[in-house]
């Protein structure tokens, strides 16, 4: 299917908005996502207590009117920690996805538009990265570099870039040979102009849709690493950290792990429902390529 | 002797988001035993819907509004599923239009041909032998070895032959061929028609042959039914239709048939206008909007079936009866 040369992204955006509003599942997903996003954006205002404030005498209290999710092993309010955790989740999710998008766009354009040997080399590298179970790669990198936000981002980006790059590459290849591109080249248009004006706008749409479905995956990965004690360092109350601490005290109170796990489920559920609706807007050819 | 297939006043609608499509209206036709009946119609005339309805292979959104379909005396529309399955492949067999998608791509053709014989009490070797023999009859060389090949290893023409072989395996009383040559080029088309005529001698059943190609119909068929926009507009023997057409649509079809053009000209004759919208049907005769001979009555009253001869009928106000 040869896409029109006008930005398809505008038309896609209106179709998207209409589609979501009409689909109950998509709407539900959107609502969940908005809850998480707002929680993250306004965390410092809506959290009832300071998430870091210790109150050891009230430790491990069950949920009550003053502490809706109870308190943890050091007396901190769990709900506040959960809300603050959404800020971290959002930060990690968005920054990792953004970086991966940039990297994927760049490498995909190179692979699709550049010389054949570069394409083959990049594909081989993508396949090689793909051969690592993500957690193992993360653990290897953390062994050497130590746990930190940067390490987590590094691993996530390394693992996600190949997928986006492939998508951009497919999109680039399909347009590269389109007739109107040949016409432009005959008129003397050079690569950067062709790339910017035609190829990028058409690749962006599907790319953004795929990326939005990856955000929960990234958040879950960071949570997993935090659960192992290897993610964003304390005292940052990421959800994974809550699970980690709550796990040690699981026989004393269940509320810490509930506080840690529930937001993960809500986030993943929200993005999955939203993603279902978005996926229908994808060009079937690209959908199959994923 | 009663006809093998008898369709009487069959009406079928399709429920679509845009509205209810009236695909067939009061369609009646008979297929006498041992004869070849051709159904002629443009795209959208309802040819495929007709046979799908008769064999109960309609899609989920189809509704049969009325009429009956009798196969050898059995009421097809109300048959229990296992009785229906017993008839299919055995007494009624079908050949479809597109040979490229009609066969299962991951099973060898031998496997598929043996599966069709699942009702027979023959051992595997015997079924295989029958399949090979049938392939030979339809002109596939080296039939025994070819049984283990897959459909994508054959050309379109060969695949259609295989499809015909599969259909003839059960020695059916009725073979329904839905535009079997439309997807093939002219050479292959000629071969398939030749094959059907040859098989006709050995094959004692009837054939219902659907096509939009008048030349093929003329070559192959004994009786012809002309279908337009879901209605039968004319019916008769091959001679009746081609030499004494009584319906303006039939006449127009014959005039427009490229094979019959008697003088070379740049402009090909066409039938003006478009096929009617089957959701909002015009009142009166269905062909009136495009008919060169239409007059006032045509637009207000739908014509009933006028008899020209006992075997030749046409739905037109101009036919004296």
């Amino acid at each position: 299917m040869i896409p029109a040369s006008a930005p398809a992204s505008e038309r896609a955006a209106t179709r998207l908005a209409r589609r979501i509003l009409h689909d109950p599942i998509g709407l539900f997903g959107l609502v969940l996502v908005l809850i998480v996003v707002c929680s993250g954006l306004f965390a410092d205002w809506i959290a009832p207590y300071d998430p870091l404030k210790l109150a050891v005498r009230e430790r491990m209290a069950d949920p009550s009117m003053s502490h809706l999710l109870g308190t943890d092993q050091l007396g901190r309010d769990i709900l506040s920690r959960v809300i603050k955790g959404s800020q971290i989740a959002l930060l990690v999710g968005l920054s990792a996805t953004l970086l991966s998008l940039l990297g994927g766009l760049l490498l995909g354009l190179l692979a699709g538009y550049g010389p054949r040997w570069l394409d083959n080399l990049l594909l081989l590298l993508f396949d090689a990265v793909h051969a690592f179970p993500v957690i193992m790669l993360a653990l290897a990198v953390i062994t050497l570099f130590g746990p930190s936000l940067v390490t987590v981002l590094l691993v996530v980006v390394t693992v996600t870039v190949p997928r986006y790059a492939r998508l951009v590459r497919t999109s680039t290849l399909s347009i590269k040979h389109a007739e109107f591109i040949l016409a432009e080249r005959a008129l003397g248009a050079r690569a950067p102009r062709i790339l910017l004006h035609h190829i990028v706008p058409n690749a962006i749409g599907p790319l953004l849709i795929i990326a939005s479905m990856d955000i929960p995956v990234v958040i879950t990965l960071e949570a997993g690493l935090s659960f192992l004690g290897l993610g964003v360092p304390p005292p940052a109350p990421s959800w994974g950290r809550l699970l980690n601490e709550g796990y040690s005290f699981i026989r004393d109170t269940p509320w810490i792990v509930i506080g840690g796990g529930l937001p993960l489920i809500v986030t993943t559920l929200g993005f999955t429902f939203l993603g279902e609706t978005l996926r229908d807007l994808l060009d079937p050819k690209l959908r199959k390529a994923l | 002797m009663a006809a093998i297939l008898s369709i009487d006043k069959l009406s079928v609608d399709f429920l679509t988001p845009r509205g209810t499509v009236s695909a067939l209206r009061q369609v009646s036709l008979d297929v006498p035993r041992g004869s070849i009946v051709g159904i002629v119609g443009e795209s959208g005339s309802g040819k495929s819907t007709l046979i799908a309805a008769a064999t109960r292979l309609l899609s989920e959104n189809a509704v049969i509004r009325g009429g009956t379909v009798e196969f050898d005396g059995e009421d097809m529309l109300n048959l229990p599923p296992d009785r229906l399955r017993a008839l299919r492949g055995r007494r009624i067999a079908m050949v479809f239009q597109d040979p490229m998608t009609a066969l299962n791509p991951v099973l060898s053709i031998g496997r598929q041909m043996i599966d069709i014989q699942y009702r027979d009490r023959l051992d595997r070797a015997g079924k295989r032998a029958r399949a090979a023999e049938m392939l030979r009859r339809v002109g596939i060389p080296d039939a025994g070895a070819r049984l283990d090949r897959f459909p994508h290893e054959f050309s379109g023409g060969m695949r259609q032959r295989i499809a015909i072989a599969m259909a003839l395996l059960g020695n059916p009383d009725l073979l329904i061929a839905d535009e079997p040559t439309t997807a093939l080029d002219v050479t292959m088309e000629a071969q398939i028609i030749h094959l059907l005529r040859e098989q006709r001698r050995e094959f004692e059943g009837s054939i219902l042959f659907i096509s939009h190609n008048l030349g093929l119909i003329a070559e192959l068929c004994d009786h012809v039914v002309i279908l337009y926009a879901g209605e039968v507009v004319e019916r008769g023997t091959v001679h009746d239709i081609f030499h004494r057409p009584s319906h303006p649509y039939t006449e127009a079809l014959l005039v427009c048939d490229p094979a019959r053009l008697s003088q070379a000209s740049r402009a090909l004759p066409t039938i003006g206008g478009e096929v009617p919208d089957l959701i909002r049907l015009p009142s009166g005769c269905i062909f009136a909007p495009r008919c060169p001979k239409a007059f006032a009555r045509c637009r207000s009253a739908a014509p009933h079936t006028h008899v020209v001869t006992p075997e030749h009928t046409a739905s037109c106000h101009l036919v004296p009866s």
């Binding site: 690592f132 050497l144 699970l243 | 479809f96």
Partner: protein, 314 residues
Amino acid sequence: MLYYTIQRVGLALLICIVAMTAMFSLVYVIPGDPASIALGPRATPEMRQALAARMGLDRPVPIQIVNFFGNVLSGDLGVDVWSNRSVATSVFESLPYTLALAAAGLGWSVLVGIPLGCYSAARRNSLLDKLSGVLSVGAISMPSFVVAIYSLLLFAVTLGWLPAIGAGEPGQPLDQLGHLILPALAVGLGWVGYLARLVRASMLEVLGEPHIRTARSFGLPERMIVFRYALRIAVLPTVTLLGTGVGSLLSSAVFAEIVFNRPGIGQLVLGAVNTRNYPVVMGAVLVTVGLFTLCTLIADLLVAAYDPRIRAGL
């Protein structure tokens, strides 16, 4: 088929080589040298030199690379920085536990997920179909370690029905099975969702294709049509999914081992990470990469064996 196999095997080997090179060269990307990092900031220069010699870091780089590949091919994955134990021994001791868990998780999810997907496709829009659709999405949305923790909480801690810790007494299969239930549940739950959805979508697509109509027109029994004519085609994307999903399967198994305190690669590697014991980590990673590549290769070859069109390069 043979040519296709050779192609795929060659590609798989190439990928492994690239991965191994990457793992090896990672050590050189870090700031500081591995020996210092392993020993921490209070190490003396002599300690660092001794460790560096043990790790082979004092030899020139090309020699190190050659040695490395030679060692791997002969089965030597290096030695544990602290205990001097062979990494290969440690890894292959722990691997069976992880594989057993992964297999158990995958096994039950295949047994439940594929029939569920088939049934959903055959009875489209029925109550079961809608219910399984909702449950599938729910199952997919729960990260496996969260499922592990919650099932531990519910079934072991709160209800006390199943054991919480360990893999059970060696030599007592029933006990070991009991210890496998919850972890396998956690590992497989997400997969049930994926498989059910994928099989349903594939089946619906295949059942709508013209060749199925042909099969029906010949009166073939519905069971034959679903299982021999439709499922055979529909199951192919599932095989591919399973092959590429082994990576996440292993990840889930690692987490489940940590949560349920089972022996396996997870415990081994986590311990090594916390002590900066890179050879052990690298050894485990290489083995899992090899395993993963093997599984994708097998899945590819299976699909090609099943579907003649792929062999022909269509």
